[in-house]
Each structure stands twice: as C-alpha cells, then as structure tokens.
C-alpha cells in the first residue's frame, strides 16, 4: 500500500487540494447557494462530458484529434431543434433519404454481374467515374425537385425564432402549409433511387479488385442487400403516401414524447454523419497525424458555415418539453411528486428558512441523462466484446489487428458512437443554453480543457475533468455575483466574467505542468 501511495503522490496531493478548495468555496456560501451552484456545475459538467467522452475515445483508439467535434455537437443541437419544432420537415425529408439509401444498399448485388463484363481496360477504368458523375447529377436534379417544407432564416416571419415562439404557444399545427405532393415529387423519388443505384454500381466498379467473397457468403450478402433495399424503399414510399397523417400525428403528440423523438433523431443523424466522415475523409489520413487535425478543423469550418446557411446567423431558443415547462397552479412544486403531477419548470427545496429554486430541466433532467450515459458507456467499455476491442485498441491497435479483428469496422463504429454522443449532448444543451453558431467552439474548448485535466484518453478522466471544469466555472460565476471576502481587501472581491474561461485554462496549465499526463492519464 505505501508504494501505491508514493507512486500516486502528486495525484493524491492535487486531489486533496482541489477537495479542500471546493470545501472552502462551499463554506463561503449559504446552503441554498451552494446546492444550486453544485447542481448547475453538474449540469454543465454533464454536457461537457457528453462531448469530451466521445472525443477521448476517438483520440485514444485512432489518434485522431477531432476538432470538428464541437461543430458536430452544434449540428446535433440544430437537427434536434428541427425535428422537435418542425416535425413536418422531418417527415418530408425521410422518403428521399430512405430511397437514396435503398439504392445505395444494392452494392453487393453488382459484383457477380460485373465479373462477366469483358470491357477494355480504358473503358473499365473510366465508367465508374462517369457513373459517379451521373449519380451526382441525378441527385442534384432530383433533390431540387422534391418539395420539402422548411423555414427561411432570412425572412423574420418564417425564421427559426418565430417558429420556436409558435411552438411554445402550440401554434405550429395552424401555421403549417403542407408541401405539394403528386407526380413530380414521386418522379423525384424515383430519380433519387436511381442516383443511389448509380452510386452503388460505380463504387462496386471502383472497388472490384479489392477481393472476392466466396460463393455462399456473397449469395447471403446479395439476399440481405435485396431485402434491405426493398424494406427501405417500401418504408420511404409509405411515409411519402401518408405524409400528412404522420405530420398530424406527430404534432398531436405531447411535447415530451416529441423531444424524445428529437433526441433519437439527432443522435442517429450524428452517428451516421460520424460514420460517413470517418469512412470517406479521415480514413485516408491515418498515416499523417498533423493533417487529420487540419482536416477536422476544415470540416468544423464548413460545418459552421453550413449551419449559418441553413438556420441563419442569429441564435434562437429551443422550447422546453411540456414535462419541464409548466408554470401554472401548483408550481413551483414542493416535491418530486408535485413536479410530476403539475409538470413544473421549477422545484422548491427548503433548507431551514431558506428555499432554493431548482429548474427541473437544467438541474435535474440533464444531470440524470449525463449519469445514464456515463454508466452506459462504462458498461459498454467494460462488459461487452466491442468494449474489450476498444480498450485493447487504445493500448495497441496494431496488435489487435494482428489478432484478426477488423479494426477498420471498429474505428467506424467508435467514430459513430463518439459523434452520436456529441449530438446527444447538443440536443440536451438546446433547451438550457439556446442555439447559436458559437456554441460548438465554446463547448469544444471546455471539453479539451476537461480532457487535458483528466487525462486525454482516460474515460474516468473525461468524467472527472468535465466535473472539475463545471465546478470551477459555476463557483466563479456565483462568486462573481455575491463576492468573496478576502482578508486584505475592504470590499468583497467580485471575479469579472472573463475570469471564468481564464480560470479553467489556468487550472489546466497548472495541472499539466505538475502531471503532464493529466490526473487519471496513463504514464508514457
């Protein structure tokens, strides 16, 4: 035991000092103040953790410093907002996506057929590119022809700000104008299906030499592809036919349920975006570390511009779901039970004669989701086969590959998981922080600091670092309001707002200088 103590002496001393500081900070406040501040810190920490954990798993497994992570967090928030406030747009977008994907899934079918082609070498090399160009052209034309109900960031009456207000008043259903349906839209869907088919065909042509599957496996893959394609196309057409009914149904739902749908949609969208990013853009760059940083930075740039183009430059709010929005009679609730019966936005906690007002969404729901994700990802890492591969890959990915595990596929999965977590964080942050085009960059900086403090590739480190960043920020903000009584100053010292980011950065620099691998990081 003493050797373990001696080995981790610096870590233990730092942790003790931090605990002492926290204790002193709590002592300087009244009970209600520190409880509220602590809950807020947990809430900020939970959202930071959702971004930081994905970032750290990606960094640990594939050494990719994904600077686009903050932007993906932001995209998650905006996608979630759209699915939440404009369900009609979501429903409109599903059929074209489903049909494009249905065509694309047909990939395995072609290989057998392509084998029998006896074309000259030049033609064999050129046609896939021609096919790709054809697919892009088809996509461009068909996607433009398919009508989708959407907002207009440039016009105030139709802007996201006004839609969010309408949503809060329950006016969305009245202000909808259904997008025109009929022959042209159906034709556009067929065009999208053809674009997917053309893309899968040309990709199969490009990849032809990669290696052949044996007969039975190939036959099974073909069967699966056909079934998947038929299912997706059928689903897309069904949604297309019952478009209006589905929209009405979604709008009739309780907003809490709608919010759950938004969370699922945004997480799935983030995960697929991550998988797409890894498999097309990042995969060629595993050999060149600095270039990945720059690529992901460029992607962050493009993502931010995309968000500005679609949702506008002005920030807007995301209304809270009904379970956390009530202000009528019985509110603020005095107990958890009261909250559930009256659906209050705040709860009152009493300490002696003091009462603290706690917002149910920000300070309870976000923390609970953060804890659930913390435990779920920990279970995934510790108890499943995938988690075992990930942990082994963080240690030595070459060795894992040598043991016959398809690390490529695990890379894609982990990237999807990490980005999905960030997107989930984005939707959760929407109602509490609001949406703006700077939210990604701010949160990425916070997550980076949290990771540097906790240890860049350590999962408990990500949690501890996020918590520390949240605590430091929130306590300094609170002390900025009430002031600290320092012994040698007459007036209480009030930290000014710029000190909030500066303090976390300083904490990071100090901890890194004492322990370069972070609090819980592995020693090199």
């Amino acid at each position: 035991m003493p050797t373990a103590l001696r080995k981790n002496r610096t870590q233990l001393i730092i942790l003790a000092i931090l605990a002492l500081l926290l204790f002193m900070a709590i002592q300087g406040m009244s009970t209600k103040d520190w409880v509220v501040t602590l809950l807020r810190a947990l809430s900020v920490g939970a959202i930071t953790f959702l971004v930081a954990s994905g970032f750290s798993i990606i960094l640990g497994l594939m050494d990719v410093l994904n600077l686009a992570h903050g932007t993906l967090f932001m995209i998650g928030a905006y996608v979630g907002w759209s699915a939440y406030v404009r369900p009609d747009t979501l429903i409109d977008l599903l059929p074209p996506l489903a049909l494009l994907l249905a065509g694309f899934l047909l990939g395995p079918i072609w290989s057998n057929w392509l084998e029998r082609l006896a074309w000259g070498s030049r033609r064999r090399h050129l046609w896939p590119w021609a096919g790709l160009i054809l697919a892009l052209a088809l996509l461009w034309i068909a996607a433009g022809k398919f009508p989708v109900a959407i907002w207009h960031a440039q016009e105030y009456t139709d802007s996201p700000i006004v839609w969010a207000q309408n949503f809060e008043r329950g006016l969305v259903a009245e202000s909808l104008t259904p997008a025109p349906r009929g022959g042209p839209a159906l034709l556009a869907l067929v065009g999208l299906l053809l674009a997917g088919v053309a893309a899968s065909l040309s990709l199969a042509g490009l990849r032809r030499r990669a290696g052949q599957m044996s007969g039975q496996v190939a036959a099974a893959a073909r069967r699966r592809a056909l079934i998947g394609c038929a299912l997706l196309a059928g689903l897309g057409l069904l949604i297309f036919l019952f478009d209006d009914t589905l929209t009405r149904f979604l709008l009739g739902l309780d907003t809490t349920l709608l919010f759950l749908i938004a969370i699922i949609v945004a997480t799935l969208a983030g995960a697929s975006l991550g998988a797409l990013m890894e498999s097309t853009l990042i995969r060629p760059l595993y050999e060149r570390p600095i270039y990945q940083i720059m690529l992901t930075f460029g992607l962050a740039f493009i993502g931010t511009e995309l968000v500005r183009a679609v949702w506008g430059r002005t920030g807007f709010t995301m209304p809270r779901p009904s379970l956390f929005a009530g202000t009528g009679d019985g509110c603020p609730a005095a107990s958890i039970g009261g909250w559930f019966t009256h659906k209050c936005s705040t709860i009152l906690l009493t300490f002696g004669e003091d009462t603290a007002r706690i917002r149910t969404y920000n300070e309870i729901f976000v923390i609970i989701v953060g804890l659930i994700v913390l435990v779920a990802v920990w279970l995934l890492l510790q108890r499943t086969r995938l988690g075992m591969i990930i942990r082994a890959g963080v240690q030595d990915s070459e060795m894992v590959e040598a043991l016959g595990i398809n690390v490529r596929r695990v890379f894609t999965l982990v990237f999807a998981l990490g980005v999905g977590l960030a997107a989930l964080g984005g939707v959760l942050a929407g109602p509490s922080m609001g949406l703006s085009d700077a939210m990604g960059a701010n949160l990425l900086l916070g997550a980076l600091i949290a990771l540097a403090i906790g240890g860049l590739t350590s999962y408990p480190g990500a949690a501890a670092g996020s918590l520390l960043v949240g605590l430091l920020q929130q306590f300094i903000i609170k002390y900025g309001q009430i002031g600290i009584n320092l012994p040698f100053l007459d007036a209480p010292f009030k930290p000014s707002p710029p000190l909030v980011p500066a303090s976390t950065i300083l904490l990071m620099v100090i901890i890194l200088l004492l322990m370069p691998q972070g609090l819980f990081g592995r020693r090199e």
Partner: protein
C-alpha cells in the same frame, strides 16, 4: 551545398530568389504605369491602385514573416504549438501601448519588443521539457488564450482597447503607412528578405540540422549526445523574436490592432498558410502567406458571404490532395520535370538529354 565561390555560380543558384525580389521591388511602379500614373506619382505616394496594391503586399509580407516563424518551430523543429498567435500579438500590442500610452520612441519600442520576444520564448521554454506532443499544444493554447482574455478585459481597456482593438497609435513620421507607404513597402520587403535569408542560414547551420533531427526523431538526437532542450529553445527564441517583429510592423501598418490576432483563429490562419505552401520548406510559408491573403481578399470580393464556405472546402481539398503544399509538391516533382525536359530536348535532337 555548392562550394564554388565564383560569383557566376552563386548568381545562378540564387537566380529565382533574385528575380522574385526584383519583381517585387518593381511591382509598385509597374502597377502604377499600368494604371496611367507616372513613376514620380508613385514615388510621391499619390492615391491610386499602386498604393492600394502596396498596402495589400505589405500585409502579405507581415503574414509571410509570421508564417515563416511558425514554420521554424512547427515544420522544422516539429514542436506542435498552438499559441503562436501570442508571439505576434504581444509584439503588436506592446508596440501600440509603448508608442501611444508610454510615448516611447521607435528605437526604444523595437528594443522592448525584442526583449519581450525573448521573454515569451523563455516562458514557453519553462513548459517545454515537461510536456510533449498534444499536451504541449494544449498548454501553449492555454497560455495564448490567457493572453487573449487579458487584452480583452475591461480592466485593461484603457491600454488595449479591449474588444474594439487598439486605436490611434501615433505613427513615427519616417515610417508613416499613409504618407510614406512606398518607403514602408520597401522596409517590409527588405525585412522579409532578411528574415528569409537568416532562416535559410539557420536551417543550414549545424544548430538547424539538429533541429531537423529533433523533428525526425528526438530520442535518436538525444542518444547522439545533443541536449535537445537547448536546440528547441534556440528555435523558439528565434521564432518568437521574428513573430514579435512582424507584430511590430503590423501595429505600425494597421489603423486598428484588432484583438483577433491574439486568438486561436490567427494561429490556425498561420497553419493554413503553411499547409498551402508546404510545411518545413521555409519558402513555402512565404508562398502560402501570399496565396492565403490574396485568396481571402479576392474571394471576399467575388463571393461575399459564401467565401468562408469556399475557403473551408478548399482547405479540406488541400489536405486530402496536396498534403505537402505547393512548394513541397513542386520539390517532389521538380526532378520529374527536369528529367522530362531533358527527354523532350533529346527528342528534338538537341544535346540536352544526358
């Protein structure tokens, strides 16, 4: 290295550089003549396109010095620093504050900026032996962010102008960017050339060779008996001094010293310049700075709002398809070009193919 000291071989080996310098020196006059101004007009700093192009080129020179100083620590020595904007911003802000609030002369200011450059390098030097790789990047980013936050605080607003930027710096009359723009242009050009030659000499010197060895494999360099810390510190000091001097020129030239130059965005701009030109090539940094500034300017003029989107897309394409930058790609291909030209001459019956 060619050992022959005959002036003719020297001239031939440096032909490209000499031609470029001559072209840049003639540029204001050529632009002036093309726009119907006489040479005396250009010499008298008359308003017009020539003066405007001079201004744009001065900005390119300043960025080129910044980029080459970043190249020395990132591309040559291989230190992943994300705090390089601080080196530049300290030079700029110190110049502004010294001239405006303290009323120092230009000479005193230059001395102060040089001293600040050394101090900054030493500050990074404290961090240097403790952290490596991504952690070093994060710590430098952190230090630079603290400086960024400091100059934006309201408490120091009297000196730094907080969010708005530092305005109304009194210009020394001998180097006034509006009245003496042509002189400023030549001073900036000369300084850029000086920095370039100095850096080339540094990289070719034994010290510079060790720096390259550190980039390739630090442990092996240490095994050979070099104390790598001193070499890294030397590279950092030189880089910090140059960047601070570029900052001084920036403060003298720009009407407002904007706080943007202290942020992470400016470091990334520098990274982008290196990426365009080619990392670790020195001349690539200069080419990259030129392309970056001109592209930024003309994209903004042609495409307006969509320009940043296009630049982002261009950036991704560059990383994927021209990973070693234009100068790097040129150097890799130069041999092929030479061989191809020789074969062409041979085909036409010349005696070139040897």
């Amino acid at each position: 290295m060619p050992t022959s000291s005959s002036p003719r071989t020297w001239l031939r080996s440096q032909l490209g550089l000499i031609l470029i310098v001559l072209a840049l020196a003639a540029l204001p006059f050529v632009i002036g003549l093309l726009n119907g101004q006489s040479i005396s007009d250009v010499l008298a700093n008359a308003k017009g396109n020539a003066k405007f192009i001079q201004g744009l080129m001065i900005e390119v020179f300043i960025l080129a010095i910044f980029a080459i100083s970043y190249d020395l620590i990132l591309g040559i020595t291989g230190l992943l620093s994300f705090g390089h904007a601080m080196f530049f911003a300290v030079g700029s802000y110190l110049t502004g504050v010294a001239l405006k609030s303290f009323g120092w002369s230009l000479g005193q200011t230059i001395l102060a900026v040089l001293a600040a450059g050394v101090i900054q390098a030493l500050l990074f030097g404290i961090v240097l032996p403790r952290v490596k790789g991504i952690t070093f990047a994060l710590v430098t980013l952190g230090l630079a962010s603290v400086f960024d936050i400091l100059i934006k605080t309201r408490e120091l607003g009297e000196y730094t102008g907080s969010d708005v930027g530092l305005q109304g710096i009194p210009r020394p009359p001998i180097l006034d960017p509006t009245d003496q723009r042509l002189r400023f242009y030549f001073v900036a050009l000369a300084f850029t050339l000086l920095v370039f030659l100095l850096y080339k000499r540094f990289v070719d010197s034994p010290t510079g060779r060790v720096c390259i060895a550190i980039r390739e494999n630090e442990n092996r360099a240490r095994m050979l008996g070099y104390n790598t810390f001193y070499f890294k510190l030397a590279a950092l000091t030189l880089s910090s001094l140059t960047a601070a001097m570029a900052g001084l020129l920036n403060a003298l030239y720009k009407p407002i010293v904007s706080p943007e130059i202290a942020g992470l965005g400016f470091t990334v701009d520098g990274l982008l310049m290196l990426l365009i030109g080619g990392m670790g090539t020195l001349s690539g940094a200069m080419v990259g700075a030129g392309i970056f500034r001109l592209l930024d300017f003309y994209f903004d003029r042609w495409f307006g709002e969509a320009s940043s989107f296009l630049i982002g897309g261009l950036y991704v394409l560059l990383v994927l398809f021209v990973p070693y930058g234009f100068v790097g790609a040129w150097r890799a291909r130069a041999l092929d070009f030479r061989r191809g030209r020789a074969r062409l001459l041979h085909l036409f019956g010349g005696r070139g193919g040897d």
